[in-house]
């Protein structure tokens, strides 16, 4: 049951669009920075396959420039 956190860098001017797009996905929580072009994304999934699929979905969002993992825990 993985829990992972990421730093998501939006393309210039796309922070709000990216926030909305990730928020629309299940198993995701987004915390946008107030004063920088950066979002924190936390994912909480049931298994590795689901996690990989979710990551792929996030990476396919057009307003996303870069997704970098910070920490990963497995609570099983």
């Amino acid at each position: 049951m993985p829990i992972k956190s990421y730093l998501a860098h939006p393309h210039n001017g796309k922070k709000e669009i990216l926030t909305k797009a990730i928020n629309a996905l299940e198993h995701c929580e987004v915390i946008p920075a107030e004063n920088e072009n950066l979002l924190i994304v936390v994912t909480e999934t049931d298994n590795k396959e689901q996690e990989d699929l979710l990551k792929e979905k996030i990476e396919n969002i057009e307003s996303l420039k870069l997704l970098a993992m910070v920490s990963g825990f497995n609570t099983k």
Partner: protein, 775 residues
């Protein structure tokens, strides 16, 4: 205590958020997240939160450690700590994970026929005592030595000094702080007669301008740097980064000024020239509180064995000093330093403006310098000429790198020439120590023996036969490392290493003792702002691990010093601290009682009449001032601070046609020093898995080197291959490369130079010449 899975998942999720916020803060200093999100972070749950100073750097952040079922499981910043006000950096948040690495040393190991064999702690301690006895009998007391650390707790260093200096009678006591703080110490002693900053972190809340001298504070002191950024948001303060390379600090600063290596000496003199030329000298302050000295020049660089140097201070007057500075006009210095005259004048104008409070901050850039004492003196000159010192916000501030470099190495005095109060050379200081230690005064040798580099050279020559190394990793950190690694392996040497994990230093040990780490035992650290902080034992040590303090006490008893080492196991930390406090009695250095340290996040010495002293030498705050004036620099017999005439002199090894680049080494935010703890924290290890060489992007392009390509670095000491880093974290100037030293698999110190400051004996890890090739 029961924790449901839901609670645990919720807690872990919050930890994941916290890790990401911390990582974000290191990339974007000053980044803010909505308060309601921060409020979601763990606040306690079922955990038992206990206070401690952080295990890692010299900032000395107060942390709260969450303990559950006998295990330390979480860390958060202590909101009550005036140091960090609830903040933590990425290393601090993950610090407890470094306790639980899979390869913790849990049993003593003795090398037999080339292999390590497990033994009992009793047998290992018996063997160490027996080796010490026979070495002293066969080769004399100066054949045994101890090499400790700024990560020693105060009791560790105190019992080491008492055993070696007081009981055995050798001054072969050194610590790795010689490699990081010695120039700061000699800078303070020569300018003020007393060690450690006169100001405190609260200066940050008052200063208008911050000038960082060769100090990548955003990565090395991130919590303090975030306090600077916070002040910029609140009050619009200015931050100027004066450095040799572009770093995250440069990127976050209001202005980045780059200088050529070693020329900070010339720029500091040029700032003083400008201050005098423009009439910005605080004349009444200088007349009342300063004297002028010059010392010897062309001192050499300590490159040869048994090198000796003693400065000969000579009084001069203001006019002579003013004439000396004529060689340092901004225009002349521009040619040496690469810093434009305009930028020199820009910095001088801030220092000279009577309406601006200025804080200068520095760490390794000024200390790891073959003229480290001089550059410390020169920055004090600027503050003394303008009278911007010892008042809130006006503060020359030397930052430390280790959690107790100040508390243990500098205050307990675990350097060859030092005693807990004073120096071995002075009879009254020896008498004071001997009385408290309950040893004959004749036991304490009046002559210092070896500073760190010379101690390892003595081991190489065979003058030292036995060395006990605690809480440090010299087989990664010594400059010109290969010589000293080979020295440790020589026949007839006996090396004991106390540590928590296997390292390149345990690899050369004859006996390895497993040490109890940080909150597995009780102790105190002292940070950069004279703050002593206590931590209780929160968890049981791993396996048979024992505190470094108690290891030394056990050996001392076996050597026959039961009378001096009378401490009881259950109360020894309290007994040792109370004994140690006696050395510092009096208004100039009184330490807070233990019961005070137990109830609050530390206290700053001098601790007099139940109060910490925030600003020394200022009679408004410092009860030791007694001259009836606003300021009293009582460390000097005449009560005056010294403005030093110190010239610019070049580095011992400069780029030439064979070795055309400067090599600078340093740290990274993810790893604590040699990485022996932080590389065992998966998140940090993954974030920064190995060392690299940073290249200037234009030069990398010319050499067809891209990030990840293998690059060979060659100096006169050897060669090493590292992956390239181009336009990533830091950007060196043309003609310079940078390599971090945390990676034991890529030992950059194999090729660095063991030149040192002749006064402080601190090596310069920032400058030697190197050839760079793509392979």
């Amino acid at each position: 205590m029961y924790t449901s899975l839901t609670n645990r998942r919720s807690f872990i999720k919050k930890m994941a958020i916290m890790s990401a916020m911390t990582a974000a803060a290191t990339m974007f200093p000053g980044i803010l997240f909505a308060e309601e999100q921060e409020e979601k972070l763990p606040k306690g749950g079922n955990l038992d939160w206990k206070k401690a100073p952080c295990r890692f750097c010299g900032v000395g952040c107060g942390v709260l450690v969450g303990v559950e079922n006998g295990k330390a499981v979480a860390v958060k910043g202590d909101p009550k700590s005036p140091v960090n006000k609830g903040l933590c950096c990425v290393k601090g948040y993950h610090s407890v994970m470094s306790i639980y690495g899979k390869d913790r040393l849990t049993k003593p190991l003795v090398k037999k026929n080339g292999k390590y064999v497990e033994t009992s702690m009793k047998e290992a301690l018996d063997l160490i005592a027996s080796k010490m006895k026979t070495t002293i009998k066969d080769h004399g007391k100066d054949a045994v030595s101890i090499y400790g650390s700024g990560q020693w707790t105060i009791p560790d260093g105190y019992v080491a000094s008492k055993l070696f200096k007081g009981c055995i009678g050798t001054n072969n006591v050194e610590a790795n702080a010689r490699l990081c703080m010695a120039s700061a110490v000699t800078g303070f002693l020569t300018s003020f007669g007393l060690d450690e900053p006169m100001g405190c972190y609260e200066d940050i809340d008052h200063a208008d301008v911050f000038i960082l001298w060769g100090n990548n504070m955003a990565e090395m002191h991130p919590v303090l740097f975030s306090r600077l950024l916070d002040q910029r948001l609140k009050r619009g303060v200015k931050i100027i980064d004066f450095a040799t390379r572009t770093t995250r600090t440069s990127m976050a600063a209001d202005k980045s000024i780059i200088f050529q290596p070693q020329t900070d000496l010339a720029v500091a003199n040029a700032i003083c020239y400008e201050i005098i030329k423009n009439g910005w000298v605080n004349k009444s302050f200088v007349e009342k509180h300063c004297s002028f000295n010059k010392g010897l020049t062309n001192m050499g660089y300590g490159l040869e064995d048994k090198y000796k140097f003693k400065d000969k201070p000579e009084k001069i007057d203001f006019e002579a000093y003013k004439t000396f500075l004529e060689d340092y006009t901004p225009e002349k210095v521009e040619r040496i330093s690469g810093v434009s005259a305009k930028d020199i004048k820009y910095m001088a104008a801030y220092y000279g403006d009577p309406n601006k409070k200025v804080m200068s901050l520095w760490c390794m850039g000024m200390n790891q310098h073959t003229r480290g004492t001089w550059i410390n003196n020169l920055v004090y000159n600027i503050h003394l000429l303008t009278g911007k010192i010892s008042t809130p916000g006006n503060s020359p501030f030397s930052l430390t790198g280790q959690p107790s470099a100040c508390g243990t190495v500098r205050e307990v005095g675990t350097l060859t020439h030092k005693l807990p109060h004073g120096v071995v050379m002075k009879k009254e200081h020896r008498e004071h120590a001997a009385k408290i230690w309950d040893v004959p005064v004749e036991n304490i040798d009046p002559k210092p023996t070896y500073h760190t580099v010379e101690m390892f050279r003595a081991l190489d020559r065979g003058d030292i036969k036995f060395m006990w190394i605690q809480v440090t990793n010299p087989m990664v950190t010594m400059p010109k490392l290969k010589r000293y690694r080979d020295a440790c392996k020589k026949e007839g040497r006996f090396i004991v290493v106390s540590d928590i994990y296997p390292t390149p230093t345990t690899d050369i040990a004859d006996v390895i003792l497993p040490s109890a780490m940080w909150i597995e035992r009780e102790g105190m650290y002292g940070n950069s702002e004279r703050r002593t902080q206590y931590f209780e034992q929160m968890i049981q040590p791993s396996g048979e691990a024992m505190s470094d303090t108690w290891q030394i006490v056990e050996v001392a008893k076996r050597l026959g010093y039961e009378k001096q080492f009378y401490y009881k196991e259950e109360t020894h930390i309290e007994e040792i601290y109370n004994e140690y406090r006696r050395h510092h009695e009096g208004k100039k250095h009184a330490m807070a009682p233990l019961e005070v340290l137990k109830t609050q996040p530390g206290a700053q010495w001098p601790y007099v009449d139940g109060k910490s002293t925030k600003w020394r030498f200022n009679s408004e705050y410092d009860p030791a001032c007694s001259n009836g004036e606003k300021f009293h620099f009582y460390g000097k017999p005449d009560g005056k601070a010294v403005i030093w005439q110190r010239p610019y002199e070049p580095a011992p090894e400069v780029p030439d046609k064979d070795y055309p680049f400067w090599l600078c080494t340093g740290r990274v935010i993810e790893h604590w020093h040699t990485g022996s703890m932080t590389r065992r924290i998966p998140v940090l290890h993954k974030a920064m898995p190995h060392a690299y060489v940073e290249l200037n992007p234009e030069e990398a392009k010319q050499m067809q080197i891209r990030t990840g390509d293998s690059v060979k670095l060659t100096t006169k000491r050897g060669e090493i291959i590292l992956p390239a880093s181009v336009n990533e974290r830091g950007v060196p100037e043309k003609g310079q490369v940078f390599v971090p030293f945390f990676d034991e698999n890529m030992l950059i110190n194999d090729i660095t130079l063991d030149a040192f400051c002749p006064i402080s004996k601190q090596p310069d890890y920032k400058k030697c010449s190197v050839k760079v090739e793509k392979v």
